[in-house]
Subunit: 215 residues, 2 copies
């Protein structure tokens, strides 16, 4: 358990692993699939071919790791930004507003999320877990009317990803309005009164322009 600092070898190994994961994210984001040879991956990551097998037994595990890394990092970022917001409905709505805006602020991450449709919904980590928690809290507080949390979560994720696709095809300066409109729709879906829907989605966002975001 003693947390000794990572040695130089360990840092180098982590750099290589990170290079592979980022190359995989880039390829997956651009192409929409992972039908690519290991050689192309290692070239994109600028590491030797055989090095791949020091880190992953096959392409499938690399892709899983690349998607998981993207979702975890994003969830952690939201978590930190919204740590001191009490109203679960506001946390929920603001998270969704920020996530759709990734299409504009962090296109690669957005494309990874858009391509990994199932993962966002079913993964036992990342956004799905937090969104479920927020939905349940908002329901318990009487702010949302929810018949079944699984369906509510699925519809949320479905609207989120589909709206990101629409935004990816739209002009960048139209993204924010489209995002907020989708979020208002989702809040209506959970029975929130119109006045409150409008108020929550008009709240100022934490300042998170591209430069301020994690690498």
């Amino acid at each position: 358990m003693s947390e000794r600092p990572p040695t130089r070898v360990e840092r180098r190994k982590l750099r290589t692993r990170t290079a592979l994961i980022e190359a995989a994210q880039e390829i997956y984001a651009e192409r929409g699939d992972f039908d690519v040879s290991i050689q192309q991956i290692t070239e994109a990551a600028d590491v030797g071919f055989g090095t791949f097998y020091n880190h992953f037994p096959s392409k499938s595990e690399l892709l899983d790791a690349a998607i998981a890394q993207a979702l975890e990092a994003h969830a952690a970022w939201l978590e930190e930004l919204l740590a001191d917001v009490d109203d679960a409905a506001v946390v929920f709505a603001t998270s969704m507003r920020l996530t759709v805006r990734l299409v504009r602020t962090r296109p690669r991450l957005a494309k990874v999320m858009m391509n990994s449709r199932g993962a966002l919904l079913t993964a036992p980590f990342g956004h799905a877990v937090h969104a479920r928690r927020d939905l349940e809290a908002a329901e318990a507080a009487g702010r949302f009317v929810i018949e079944n949390v699984d369906v509510a979560l699925a519809c949320t994720a479905g609207c989120l990803i589909a709206t990101m696709h629409v935004c990816a095809d739209a002009a960048p300066d139209a993204v924010d309005a489209l995002a907020d409109q989708a979020v208002r729709s989702v809040l209506r879906m959970f029975g929130m009164p119109e006045a409150e829907v409008v108020r929550i989605v008009a709240l100022p966002l934490p300042s998170v322009e591209p430069s301020a975001e994690p690498a």
Copy 2:
């Protein structure tokens, strides 16, 4: 333009093409991807290996054809079932109720739709076109409140597919209730009053048990 009846050769060719498309649908539905050799496809379709190239230049075109065929056939089926329903909101809601139920009634078709990511939303044919038309008609008739049709359509498709995933993991006799719940959520999303939401989703469905459906 003279519609002469298809010759025996043409019928045989169509049978072969259909066998390839159905094999592709089966594989795509089961595996969730199309990372499979042409040899495995032709074996599943029970045709000679080289025959593949008489019909498709590559796997990609076969997959496109397989997805398009599934979506078109489903859209045509809905179209026929609901041809004499006047209320666009009812057409919309009933189409969605029936489509989610595909998870139970026609699992292979449902899986193809669930796996085909963007196609359901962006394809210039099939369900997307009809759903857009119904949304616009319901909006024009004052039954839906819609800010932007693209976002509305995206959210509809997103909820639909995500709900089908939830239903695929649920017990078969829970599917109908989950489906209708999702549809009620979508109708609320479009500002429909609760009483009307409940009424529309409680309407009897056309009788469409598995045996009555198209091949």
